[in-house]
Symmetry: C2
Subunit: 627 residues, 2 copies
């Protein structure tokens, strides 16, 4: 179906907005009046610009408080409407939005409303304009879609139809089933917006908290199914304004917006008998594990020291790039000192995801507007499909299962079918270091990557969740708010079914924090106490946790004194949910990156969020003391 976006959903000048919408692949735009008023372009120039960009002007909304008023006031509105219809002719826009009146002068008289809207439609027809009448959720007398439709029906004019807006319908809790009773050709327009479920004044909710479909709590697919069953075949248009988008860059917002409409179309398909015209991206290919995490660093020594102390060994080196592979158990960390590393400090730049079908995973990502990355490879390298996540992290789709140790005397059949990323690495001589005694070794060693925690750009938190859910096919958990001494942090985890891929998306309190977004790699252990001791014995420094935390832990849970003494000594944090327990501790930070050692027992599903304020405060204290 055609997709459209209201200019009010994007930031910038009108031409910036139009360009962003076109680049993201939208077919049309709704032009918001203030954007036109503030533009130095004439209506004819705007028309030419949109046409050049391949966009249609699907809707213009310059009028308010039209219907059910005294004749004198209505006459003034008609005069104003004539001006606006003339303007629309110049713009080449053929549908005008009229929202139900919020004026204190409006009277509760449906017959008068219908008569005046009919007269407006008569005038509109002269200019080739269609009038789409919409119920605002806070309209003075008309606030529900069925009420608006009954007035349109009573007016009975071909140039008058209704506009449906998902926010206004769902925020009022109206049952959208009745939409199917409206003839499809009388639904002149459909505006889509989602919103988080909040109990607040509906006007404030609408003005500040709307979001793109799939990022809030409304059942937009269900609503869209009703609208399509009614026979609507106009554009799917996003009218989404909130305080965050107004500040964000238009380009990424437009991509996020159009992705949301593609996912919505995919979601609604199974609800319909006929789904012609709906977008159908390739099916998701859910990743089955974390192949690797890749750190870039301008200085390999602190990273190598930290990995060494954590028990990782450098096992191989890329044959054509300055990239080392460090391994321990199923945890693999690439350390890249190539040109990309010179831009900033040490950072988590890429994640390798094991995929049953890397090419199909990349096709899905591309169809959902993820930027496909050039394959940075030498001629002989295994080709790796990769896309960029909204925060810039590179996601590589790697064949799965990984090869085990190369079979003696030849390649396995699996290796022939799909190239593996490890094919490009050549073993290095291992530096011998003190291995713990065998008995301990099992317990103290890292077994794999438990999760990756990535702090997102402030303006793109909702986008990040939708991206990981839709593009990668991961499931999103509820978002969690945590207050640290300097503000509220929010985090939301996305995981696959068996928990072998877990990514915790976080966001800091303010856009000013975007400069140095912390990232961390949480390493799974079977015994975090042993792992922490081993790390310390190897010279590693663990984040110091205040003693007061342990006094509270003693008061809160029935933990033994000995157990507590060990936690206290090592800086191990503790959490518990209905399913199990979580013990974790943190290394000091190198650049933007730190590591966490975790022990997850008995089905615990969280990430120790309740300990985050203590961890954040300790990290701030560490930063101040210059450690």
């Amino acid at each position: 179906m055609r997709t459209s976006i209201a200019t009010v959903s994007l930031s910038g000048s009108l031409t910036e907005k139009l360009t962003a919408a076109a680049r993201a692949g939208f077919d049309g735009v709704e032009i918001f009046e203030n954007d036109l008023l503030a533009s130095p372009l004439t209506p004819e120039e705007i028309r030419a610009r949109t046409a050049d960009l391949g966009l249609r002007i699907d809707l213009y909304q310059p009028m308010r408080d039209i219907e059910a008023v005294a004749e004198e006031e209505f006459t003034r509105s008609l005069r104003r409407a004539r001006h606006k219809f003339e303007l629309m002719r110049r713009l080449g826009a053929d549908t005008v939005l009229v929202c139900s009146s919020v004026s204190p002068h409006a009277v509760d008289d449906d017959a008068l409303a219908a008569e005046q809207l009919r007269r407006l439609a008569v005038l509109a027809e002269d200019f080739g304009v269609k009038v789409a009448y919409e119920a605002l959720a806070w309209g003075r007398h008309v606030s529900t879609y069925d009420h608006a439709w009954s007035i349109v029906e009573a007016a009975g004019h071909p140039a008058l139809g209704t506009c449906l807006d998902s926010f206004h319908i769902l925020a009022r809790g109206s049952d959208p089933k009745g939409i199917e009773d409206i003839p499809g050709d009388k639904i002149f327009f459909l505006q889509l917006a989602d919103a988080p479920l909040m109990a607040m004044d509906v006007l404030q909710w609408s003005r500040h908290y709307r979001c793109f479909p799939g990022q809030g709590g409304f059942d937009l697919a269900g609503l869209l199914a009703h609208v399509l069953r009614a026979g609507y075949d106009g554009p799917l248009s996003l009218e989404v304004f909130n305080d965050v988008f107004r500040q964000a860059e238009a380009g990424p917002t437009a991509v996020d917006a159009r992705r949301s409409l593609l996912v919505l179309q995919e979601t609604v398909r199974p609800l319909l008998r006929e789904a012609a015209g709906l977008a159908a991206p390739p099916a998701p290919v859910v990743p089955t594990g974390v192949a690797f995490a890749e750190l870039v660093t301008p200085d390999v020594v602190p990273v190598a020291t930290l990995l060494g102390a954590l028990g990782f060994a450098r096992t191989s080196r890329h044959r054509s790039k300055p990239v080392d592979l460090w391994e321990q158990g199923e945890a693999r960390v690439l350390v890249n000192t190539g040109p990309a590393a010179r831009h900033g400090g040490t950072a988590l730049a890429a994640i390798g995801l094991e995929s049953p079908d890397p090419a199909a995973a990349a096709r899905r990502a591309e169809s959902l507007l993820a930027p496909v990355l050039p394959r940075r490879r030498a001629l002989e390298d295994a080709p790796l499909d990769a896309v960029a996540a909204p925060d810039g992290t590179e996601l590589f789709f790697c064949a799965s299962p990984r090869p085990s140790a190369p079979p003696e005397g030849g390649t396995s059949p699996a290796r022939r079918e799909l190239p593996f990323w490890t094919d490009d690495f050549e073993p290095v001589e291992r530096v011998p270091h003190d291995e713990p005694a065998v008995g301990e070794q099992g317990a103290s060693r890292v077994t794999g990557i438990d999760h990756l925690a990535l702090t997102q750009p402030w303006h793109q938190f909702d986008e990040a969740a939708l991206f990981h859910r839709a593009v990668l096919g991961l499931g999103a958990q509820e978002s969690v708010d945590v207050a640290d001494p300097y503000g509220l942090h929010r985090s939301r985890a996305v995981t696959n079914d068996d928990g072998s891929v877990r990514i915790a998306l976080g966001v800091g309190p303010a856009p000013t924090d975007d400069g140095a977004r912390p990232q961390h790699i949480a390493l799974a252990t079977r015994d975090v106490i042993q792992a922490a001791r081993r790390f310390r014995a190897a010279g590693g420094l663990l984040l110091a946790v205040p003693a007061n935390y342990y006094d509270d832990l003693a008061a809160r849970y029935g933990l033994g004194d000995e157990e507590l003494a060990v936690y206290r000594e090592l800086g191990i944090l503790y959490d518990r949910d209905g399913e199990g327990e979580f013990r974790h501790c943190y290394t000091r930070t190198v650049g933007r990156v730190f590591f966490e050692l975790v022990q997850r027992d008995g089905g615990y599903r969280g990430y120790g969020a309740q300990n985050a304020p203590v961890r954040l405060a300790a990290q701030r204290a560490e930063g101040r003391s210059g450690c």
Copy 2:
């Protein structure tokens, strides 16, 4: 009365919070549990630190969901309470807050709640601790203050009392009159927080939007009067958390906080028969006019050129400092090229306010914690009292009425009583320039300063309004939201009764905009068209306004074509309210400063806010094109 603040109201580490509270003059603090847990100090060290700072620990709140639960759960809570009472002994805190339970396990049984709270009080008494039980507005079974009090009364234990929280009482719409029925010595604590009136989920409202007394919409003085009539004599304590304070610096927030309590005490005095112990700052001295606006600039030429084109003449120069006085009608602009000007570009650094009693105005400001500025003066200069506003603007209190032209042959009696700021200026030879013909001159000339518009630091918008209202005795109008292409702007005007002092306080969409906050001086004219023409004739550049704006103006109001053509030519914007009309236009920007020419007719009270999006977009376009 003693004043206290909860550490959760301030940002930073616990020691930063304590220091900020002490510096702002608070007598005590409530320690929030997470601040203690995250602190590297032991309870004994915290106790010593607070004592050194002259602070008492008035409250500790480590417990939740205590009462009306199954015996087994309550026993666990008692065990936890024992730990916490022990901790409080180490801290030297003698009152613990217990909020009404929000647990789904709590049962609706007041008798059980009373019995369990009594048992908690028995334990507390052993440790010398008093338990203050408070109704949370979203408590599961207990959500009103009278309900909480009835349980406390039923429990009947001397170590058990109630805690009142203005937010929880007023957010629920409870009538606070019933507070007078509670014996004063059973009100163990009083927490004060204001909030903007919003229709939203009370928990979200409380967590994100609380503000200091006088900055929201609640009648805190009325509530406090009831509490004092009941006989309460404990501290007035601020428990205010919101998303903004969490990010702001602790020092200024603490000052803002304590100022709000001083103003609250002043406001409540007239409501009480006896007001012993309440703070009584000196009465406000409302300014009677704007004596001058002072620009600092590292480069005098662009400023002098702009002022010259606006019709200002340089009339005199400070006898000891590099400061020129430019005058036109009653508008006076100082241009300062001294050392202070070298820090940044051209900025509006100071405002001179005419005051019937400058010394008293300064005493009031100082008593309300406005930083008093050193009198930067040579020995022979007239002393000028000055304080800093929250945004750093210097406010000078100047004697009023200003002297007219020095009387022939001597000084007037008035001049002997009070020194005038103009005494330090010596006339300069006026550069002759083209004066318009006399007939025009009256209409085209600037008659005075209509208003000053100052963009505030993002974190201090509420503080700025309270400051100008309380310290200067100005009246605050409602705040207005305006969306420009890059985000929501908010503005709020403060004025004196006759409108001779008008300051528009604004705030941009995000803290990242704080770097270059625009400021402007609006100049009053009797005929803005003539004034604009004269400015252009003198070589001045007016901000270009898009033609589309005028097409809309034509549709909106019955303005004549000729009138519109003139507005269009000059870039004049138009607004109308129930009382009158407003016409205004803008100069280009120099540094952070621009000028507005305004014509205010027939009692119009606003500032053309509805034109702000067009103006902001035009300024952005101007910035981009490098003009």
